[in-house]
Symmetry: C2
Subunit: 205 residues, 2 copies
DNA sequence: GTCTATAATCAGATAGAC
DNA sequence: GTCTATCTGATTATAGAC
């Protein structure tokens, strides 16, 4: 039930500060994780950022690590959804590659904070290692397309597919280091990335 | 004085475990920082990795943060050295860009662990904020060349120079996420990056 | 240059009231 | 759903011996 409806149902019409649920808590926590790093964030930091006490946070989640897990799941689910989209099944590998690259940029724009947290995970805990493994799985999905595109002749053959995959995904992933929605449209970002990957700086517009 | 020479001078010829100095300690510490993240690394972790006790570490450095500072200084010095090299002063902006991109890849290969630590700094302490600011300074140096190259007509004009600079440096910086010397030569890496930036995947070899 | 022992502080998590 | 108070263990750093 939405907060407003809940308030009405309870007969309390007066305005009040929205209370926390897991989703809202997660949104705030993820921002702090990004700013200070997961390990650099204490529950006290989260309490300050949310405006509620540490023990109130524990009412919503079992642990700090659970907040991380929720963020990682959200990011990974969004990325893996791409693999079953129609565009990722186009006939020509080079077209699939272009589609997937564009979609990754879009997902990154749509789920920016969650993907940012995912990309910074180092594997210190079981949760982190699980996320790293799933992420590698996604990387392999992209690498397979690059290899196929190279075999098709869609990609120059003097470049190692494994290097290309890592550099292309690295370029895209680096977007989380600076991108903030608003100043640049995701559409322009996507077009720029696709243009650079396909044609480089000197390519024809 | 090198350890062996020191041992000779002291008249002790027998083999012995090399003792630590700041440089060796730093090298080990940086590896742990990379594996577990700086905040995720405790002095106990460093004691385990070095094989000496926590208090022995404090004999060499004042604090954990000083180890970080030493690593950051080394990385930044190596990067800034590029800005005063001859090749960074070539007449055509597009040539300067190509030179600098190649050199950044080389520096990254030569100082990999230190640059890796630099790229992961988030700004939690005064030291980290100082490093972030110097890093931004270097980014601006690259951005200025991209802007000039765009004005020269060396770079397609429909792409925002600021986006191009971020994506290119992002691609290069992402190398620290996976590169380990040995399996791929720095030379091939450099050629691949330059080729992709200049001509994209479809460019002529 | 290295050690053991310990001080002082901080972090993650819980108890129990409102 | 939120609070204050508190437990427990980890963490950074120091003291002082060898």
């Amino acid at each position: 039930m939405p907060e407003a409806a809940a308030a009405s149902a309870a007969g309390t019409v007066r305005a009040r500060r929205a209370q926390y649920d897991v989703a809202r808590l997660l949104a705030v926590a993820v921002e702090v994780f990004i700013e200070r790093g997961y390990d650099g964030t204490s529950m006290e930091d989260l309490a300050r950022a949310t405006g509620i006490s540490k023990s109130s946070i524990y009412h919503h989640v079992e642990s700090k690590e659970q907040l991380l897990r929720l963020a990682l799941e959200r990011a990974l689910d969004a990325l893996f959804a791409i693999t079953s989209e129609e565009g990722a099944k186009t006939a020509r590998a080079i077209d699939r590659l272009q589609y997937v690259i564009g979609r990754v940029v879009e997902v990154l724009g749509a789920e920016l904070p969650y993907v940012t947290v995912l990309l910074r995970v180092r594997g210190n805990t079981e949760t982190e290692r699980w996320a790293l493994e799933r992420r590698r799985q996604f990387d392999r999905f992209v690498r397979a397309i690059v290899i196929e595109a190279a075999a098709d002749g869609g990609v120059r053959e003097d470049l190692r597919p494994a290097l290309v995959e890592r550099l292309v995904l690295g370029m895209i992933n680096s977007i989380t280091e600076w991108y903030r929605p608003g100043r640049v449209e995701v559409g322009e970002l996507k077009e720029t990335v696709v243009a650079m990957v396909m044609g480089g700086l000197g390519g024809t517009p």
